[in-house]
Amino acid sequence: MSIERREARQPWILLSPALGAVALLLFVPLMFIVVYSFWLRSATGADTVGFHLDNWQKALSDPFYRYILLNTLKIAAITTLLCALLGYPAAYFIARSKGNKMILLLLLMLPFWISYIIRTMSWINILGASGAVNTALMSLGVISSPIQMLYNEAAVILGLIHFLLPFMVLNVYVSLEGIDTNLEDAATSLGATRWQSFLQVTLPLSLPGLAAGGLLCFVLGAGTYITPLVLGGPRDAMFANLVFEAIITQLNWPLGSALSLLLLAVLGALVAIYNRYLGMAQLAKGLG
């Protein structure tokens, strides 16, 4: 074998374990559940192999599923909007701070390292019947019995914001850092107020970061089922909870396949639109 041929083969030998793992553990399984979603669950245990549209019909036309899907998108949208409103000024503060930026950024990255389940359950200590807020209000005599603040949609949104806010701040920060501050100075020296130069120079230039952070918040928020289980009531299920129910509780795996593919399609469409207009590069910047 010639040296050139060996040279050409080497990268593929190095790549094959990782590519093989992703192919076997992600791509083939995804194709498999596409097929699986056309099978039928039967009462006897073994699923009926075949081409049946029943699962898809149920997933797409059942009013309860549609309601949950729309509600999930609504919750994700509210969460994303609030993350932007909370995260943008914080990111701006870090990016333009004269102090130690790295420490400020590291502090905000710390929650990434704190387990999601712990951050979620921490709100029970704050909002629960014997949590910080109720205890404080009762000892001040404002209320005589605890207020119910947990197990509703607002608590779910709060938990999601707490989980997703660092993604927003990080992405906005990265794009703010990339802006040449001379541009702002130029705007102010030409007579713009600081507020005008922010609105007309800085904000438009930071929109890619805002969009990347928003996409991450939305997609991660819309795909969760743990937060509604811990902080939501029985009526606050999100779409991923339906998937969990179908797969783990009802053991209706064909229906679960159809539901997860529906979720993938809806969120995938969003990612595709994003990719079409803004490209994946911005997202990679924020992740790295």
Binding site: P17, L110, P111, W195
Partner: protein, 261 residues
Amino acid sequence: MGWGLIRLYAIAVYGFMFLPVLVVVLLSFNANQFGSFPMTGFSLRWFEALWNNDAVMRAFRTSLILGLMTAVISTTLGILASLALVRYRVPGRNLITTALIAPILVPEVVLAVALLLFLNWLGIGKSFVLLLAGHVVFTLPFVILVVQARLVSIRRDVEEAALSLGASPVQTFFAVTLPLLMPAVAAGALFAFTISFDDITGTLFWKPGGVETVPTQIFSMLRNSISPEINALGTVMIVMTVGLPLLGAGIARSLATKRGK
């Protein structure tokens, strides 16, 4: 809007991020018999209870083994793939990178369902193997992103010098590239370990009945009855997943300065 107002706003955001977590740590040292407010004194009783809780200790062992194995496998696969992508001219490089990053682009629930159903169909049901396979596939992208970023900054000349002096490519890798790559390898492995150690979304789908990892153990403790030990367990988790990386970074930095002298 003045700078003072922005600073105040940012401080409030930091408070929002950290207060709930601080409350977990605070309550874990609470002497109160229900472990909730009001604080009645300092006590280590919940940590003691945790130590004597067999289910929790088993979950810890499972999480540790799973996290370590995930880190070893993911990091190995990630280094090999990154080497190929950065050091060779591979046709379709962008496509391959996207494919390797795909596990974090697909919602984790969907990945969990697909993997569970497919491996089950192959005859591998809910088991430790399934858990490991799942954890490897969704930590791999993070390792690749970290290692690739570092590899790009290692100059090729150093490797070429070794090669021209008669070292074989394998010798060059172990004697030159790997030592230079070590910070990224350590960071990638730590990343993989922490993500695996923290994961609950996929783990709840993949774990066999009766096997718990620390996050699923916390989850089931939350659902059954909110036991006071849970805050102590949370504190231990925070120390492990925040303290260890910080310690690692600290050690790395002190080693680097020593070498610099």
